[in-house]
């Protein structure tokens, strides 16, 4: 309405818009206010026989690389569910309503509310980063709608929303499966024992929630496993000069490097480290939070080769998606064929969330009964594209822990379609995942 109004104002240059036009615009705006109100009572054709699932992820904005592959996965799932889903002896039509948070937590919260109140979803799914998952989980908790989420450290989901260690879980409606600090400890100790180093680890952890949690929980575990941690202290996100940290790592001859930065900061740091000659010392450069997707790695040019990362999914995971029947390789190849872009680990993670969500809908006695569905989620033990998701033995209620696998970005073989290849180098957190390559020393 406001845009129409603005055009009027431009059209009538010189005189300014007439009062009448403004009144009309105001009236139209009032109508716009009434319209969504009018649709509140509108329902799907047959609400009793339709299961409505909300799916919220970041497709645009700074977190867009997480949501980039979601449309493809949703298309596959919708196709698989075209003839509906049978649960509790009844056949239901399935409607997945997907929304983009634009990487904005307030918007995530509003979207969740509108899916709950206007679309009357039976189950909410949310994926990727605290900026999406936490507000959606909170909105579902507030409205009493079952919510399943994935892909953010479970500690930041469970404790980050105010649960206290040792106290009973304050959550009744929200459930989360993902990796946690323990997953990183297992993956890193395995990965770093693959090649001989001086076991000195230079760590660059920022002064944010992830950085401080990792500093407090991961670093001591790594020290216990026999690594010497060299920590120059927290830095602020957005720092542009890392000379002091690089000098320290050089002086201590840290052959292993580990960091949890936001992606643009890593690019800055790593270029400076190369200019100042630190990268020549590094044998293993282990990244988390950045280095998840091929697009960010390609942006680093030659400096991106042989950086090590973690994977919450890889196309060589030996699992198939119960929902679509696809293997990891089939999912990745299908995406590459459809989009022309390289596969990413998010493909399998999104599929796993949908696998788990629909497994719960299938096994619960009545998928339209929200309390019953929440109960089913709390004891869900099912196979997904990314492996087993088991809520029965979580470290805390409402949480299932999934693995992190050690991997590395290597130069693709000549003739390959893409510049980089993402290979599995260690599998300590899930022994069924096949190791595909030997870890290569960075320098």
């Amino acid at each position: 309405m406001q845009e129409a109004n603005a055009t009027h104002a431009v059209d009538s240059t010189g005189e300014g818009p007439s009062r009448r036009e403004f009144i009309r615009a105001a009236g139209a705006a009032g109508l716009a206010l009434a319209l969504p109100g009018g649709s509140l009572w509108a329902q799907g054709a047959d609400p009793k026989n339709t299961l409505r699932i909300g799916f919220i992820s970041p497709r645009t904005g700074p977190l867009a690389s997480f949501g980039e592959t979601d449309p493809h996965v949703l298309t596959l799932v919708r196709k698989a569910l075209a003839s509906g889903l049978s649960s509790g002896g009844r056949q239901y039509a399935v409607q997945i309503i997907d929304r983009d948070t634009q990487s904005d937590p307030s918007r995530a919260s509003q979207l969740a509310k509108s899916l709950i109140n206007e679309e009357k979803v039976d189950l909410m799914l949310a994926i990727s980063t605290p900026e999406v998952v936490n507000p959606v989980s909170d909105a579902c908790e507030a409205a009493g709608v079952p919510c399943l989420s994935s892909v953010m450290p479970w500690e930041a989901w469970y404790f980050g929303r105010g649960a206290k260690p040792g106290a009973p879980s304050p959550y009744k409606w929200s459930f989360h499966f993902s990796f946690g600090v323990g997953s990183f400890v297992r993956a890193y100790t395995a990965q770093w024992n693959l090649i001989p180093t001086n076991r000195k680890v230079g760590v660059l952890y920022p002064n944010d929630a992830d950085g401080n949690a990792i500093r407090a929980n991961l670093a001591p575990e790594l020290a216990k496993a026999g690594f010497t941690i060299v920590d120059p202290g927290p830095y602020e996100n957005g720092t542009t000069d890392y000379t002091a940290q690089i000098a320290r790592f050089k002086a201590e001859k840290c052959e292993i490097f580990n960091t949890f930065p936001i992606p643009p900061d890593f690019a800055t740091f790593w270029r400076q480290a190369a200019q100042q000659g630190y990268t020549k010392t590094v044998k293993i450069a282990q990244l988390a939070k950045t280095g998840l997707f091929p697009s960010t790695m390609e942006a680093l040019g030659n400096l991106g080769f042989n950086l090590a990362g973690g994977a919450y999914w890889h196309k060589h995971f030996p699992y198939t998606s119960p929902l679509t029947g696809l293997s990891g390789v089939a999912l990745a190849d299908g995406y590459e064929a459809a989009s022309g872009k390289q596969w990413t680990q998010q493909l399998g993670a999104t599929m796993a969330l949908l696998d788990a969500g629909f497994a719960a809908l299938k096994t619960t006695a009545d998928p339209k009964n929200k309390a019953g569905l929440a109960k089913t989620l709390g004891t869900l033990n099912t196979d997904t594209m990314a492996g087993k998701v088991d809520f029965t033995k979580g470290p805390v209620p409402n949480v299932a822990v999934t693995p992190i696998i050690g991997a590395q970005w290597v130069k693709a073989k000549p003739g390959a379609k893409h510049k980089l290849d993402f290979v599995i180098t260690s599998n300590a957190d899930d022994a069924k995942v096949p190791v595909g390559a030997k870890l290569i020393s960075y320098s």
Partner: protein, 328 residues
Amino acid sequence: MNPSPLSIHRWTPLSVASVAAVVGAQLLLVAVPLVFGANVVERLTTLCIYGILALMWNSLAGYGGLISVGQQAFFGLGAYAAIRLADAGFPVYPALALGALLVAVAALPMAQAMLRLKGGEFAIGMWVVAEFVHLLVNLDPLIQGETGTSLIALNSFDAEARRSYTYWAALASMAALAWGMFFLLRGRLGTAAQAIRDNEEAAASVGVRVFAAKRTLFLLSAFGCALAGALWVATTISFQPKTYFSVQWSAYMIFMVLVGGIGTFEGPILGAVLFFAVETAFGATGVWYMIGLGATALLFAMLLPQGLWGAIEKRFGLRLLPVGYFLK
């Protein structure tokens, strides 16, 4: 007052009728949760919060002449105070109001410093304050930096009760702040504020206590914005500092007040309704929505500086809520 052949009026039959209508409408709004579903209640809660923000920004800029782009400092602090109090075991709904009151107390020393700045300096200074407060809140181990936390104390209420309570809290807050402002503006402060807005030096020279009047408006605005922040966290539950201390809140307030009508009592409320409608209609378009909001506010500032209500008021001589006087 000097004797004059002109008589001074405040009330007109129209304003009597409209005040009665407003009171009636507010009483009707109280019954909304009993009649309508979750969606209407939650949307009206949001609208009430926008209304508070617009009123509060207008009280500063429209009446005090203080343009601030840092009111998100109070918005964020209000939410933070509510979370801190609830975490300490304080009953959660009273914590919303008490938190806002504590923020107003904290705003007192801030007022002493900030009100010495004028015009653009004050605007930017307030933004700096907001960023500074944001960083301080990030240091709290309960908040855990940008990850934030959630107001899970509300989980002890069931969904429907909490929705209604939050709505009533928002409605009561908006009504109380609006009526509070109404009576303040009808009194000595209203006269002083308008004199200051028109010319600060001249106002001081005729004996208006400029600093005290500005401080009252500043504290009122701080309290109102903090209350809006506390209510917002009660509706969204999640507290992620970046979203609460974001300058976009100031942008929203400026939009609502500029489009609705700066310096009028009715304008900001109209602006809040318009903003709410625009957000509902175009919010999904992302960046273009923000560009559209900015462009609209810009056009209004250039072509219709008194806003929609200002224009209506001028054209028809309408005064629905009598905060001023007129001569007959």
